[in-house]
Symmetry: C2
Subunit: 307 residues, 2 copies
């Protein structure tokens, strides 16, 4: 029976200006999974450690994502999935995306790659729909393609891998509070002014241009969100102080990771990213809240085989 | 007395998805100007051919743009400006921008370049404010920098020159009808849905990524405007038929140039752009309206010295 062990990376979606379209892949934070092709047809979650998540296939994001892949594949195949969660659920760094992206990537690899990365994004989105009710791609795309990614369009699905400057380092703080999805959604307004939208797409353009030209200053100037962050940041304790500490200590930019509560800061070089981590830690040490801080280069390959 | 003759290029702003932020520079359509440093201080429009525009300095876009430059320069200088208009006013391909951008570029050149291209954009915007009441930069930026440009931000002004794939060719039809600026403005809604905005900034990201990677198909897929074009195109006769003819004959994309009434189509290669021009011409030949059609490679340098 063919089997592989993989690293399924955490991801940071939105990146301030690119709500619902931009994301990037982390290197030092992620789950481990063991995926095995079995003789008995069907998809089974055979082990799940590190999180209190459902093991029934149709209730598990990795389970439904692999079922979507196998339905398209057409042949009667069996898959056993072991999940060793290290990314906390509800952290805002793509916990569900790591599971669904990792599972479909591994099955595709074991089947000798019948599907393109873009098709894998489509299958993994089935897991995202189960997790949040919304088949978004801004976490599964960077998890599968690596680096920085753009979801240009959902209908039809059009996912672009962007260029990743090698010196970018991400610092992420995960305050261990629960923000209800319904609250994170209800603070967002469904109408924006045309001026806000123009401001935002100017920054999306600047960020992408900065990635291709490796213009770190331009990347920093473009990491601005005039639409979502002002509304959603009120749900994240000390957001303003964390951002101020990150920027004061040299971060290029700082914003909400996904729908929060994690906060990301992007820096040029590991030294700066480490200083930023220390500064953010000091802010959160005053709160009494539990939190994790991760520092990671950008993972330019996505899911990978380990051991 | 130092004097130069220049070509001041026409430009296509917005480029479908990039309303108010994107633009590109044409090579075969533009005005000619002769700019001379004079002993007598002050800015004078000494000749104006080809258009019925004001010659009083404070009412002329080139006049006020150069006055803004000289005010910053600080020294008492005289400038004489001759303008030979070839771009029709109100065409939607940056007629006023060509005059103000050309004038400040030439004066800066004659003064041995005390100002950066970005500063010149700021001076030329004073001309745009006189022309339309709005100091927009999406035409003067490509006229001054050449190629494709992004206005990332207005406050502070942040203009980025993007990469220009060499095979892109623009076809522009200018229907000689008058669309009142007030009408072009009043059809635009000042609020958009968040979903429309996300759709649009996904395309801005796709277009800019496509420019850097020279992915012509991606450029084509990204030339889509779900916000302005559906509202403004009703003011342009035969817009839908022109767009259909352009796309049928191989254009990568087609949309409104600036605020119209000109329509642009972007193609890969001169052969396709010429076929697109022929197809568009056939559509407009049925209308009885006067029109011009221009076909041009992208001008990657902007204003240039001639003769």
């Amino acid at each position: 029976m063919k089997s592989i062990k993989i690293f399924a990376p955490a991801t940071v979606a939105n990146l301030s200006c690119g709500f619902d379209v931009l994301g990037c892949c982390l290197d030092t934070v992620g789950d481990e999974m063991v995926i095995t092709l079995t003789q008995e047809p069907g998809v089974r979650i055979t082990k799940l450690e590190g999180a209190d998540l459902p093991m029934e296939t149709h209730k598990n994001v990795a389970g439904v994502a692999v079922e979507a892949l196998l339905e398209k594949y057409g042949k009667s195949i069996g898959v056993a999935i072991e999940i060793y969660k290290k990314i906390k659920a509800g952290s805002g760094i793509g916990s569900s995306a790591a599971s669904s992206a990792g599972a479909v990537w591994a099955v595709n690899h074991l089947l000798d790659k019948p599907f393109t990365p873009q098709e894998l994004v489509g299958f993994a989105m089935v897991g995202e729909k189960l997790a949040s009710g919304n088949a978004h791609a801004d976490n599964v795309a960077p998890a599968l393609l690596g680096g920085f990614t753009l979801v240009r369009s959902y209908t039809p699905l059009d996912v672009i891998k962007l260029h990743t400057p090698k010196d970018l380092v991400m610092t992420v703080i995960h305050p261990q509070i629960e923000v209800k999805t319904s609250d994170a959604r209800s603070v967002i307004k469904q109408k924006v002014t045309l001026q806000q939208a123009i401001h935002q797409w100017g920054n999306v353009g600047g960020l992408i241009s900065g990635l291709y030209t490796e213009d770190y200053e331009l990347i920093g100037r473009s990491l601005e969100d005039v639409i979502i962050e002002p509304l959603r940041s009120i749900l994240i304790p000390e957001f303003k102080n964390v951002k101020e500490a990150a920027m004061t200590h040299g971060a290029l930019g700082c914003g909400i990771s996904g729908s929060g509560p994690s906060i990301f800061a992007l820096s040029k070089g590991m030294d700066t990213a480490t200083k930023v981590a220390d500064a953010i830690r000091k802010v959160y040490n005053t709160t009494g809240l539990d939190f994790d801080i991760h520092t990671s280069i950008i993972n330019n390959y996505g899911v990978k085989i380990i051991d």
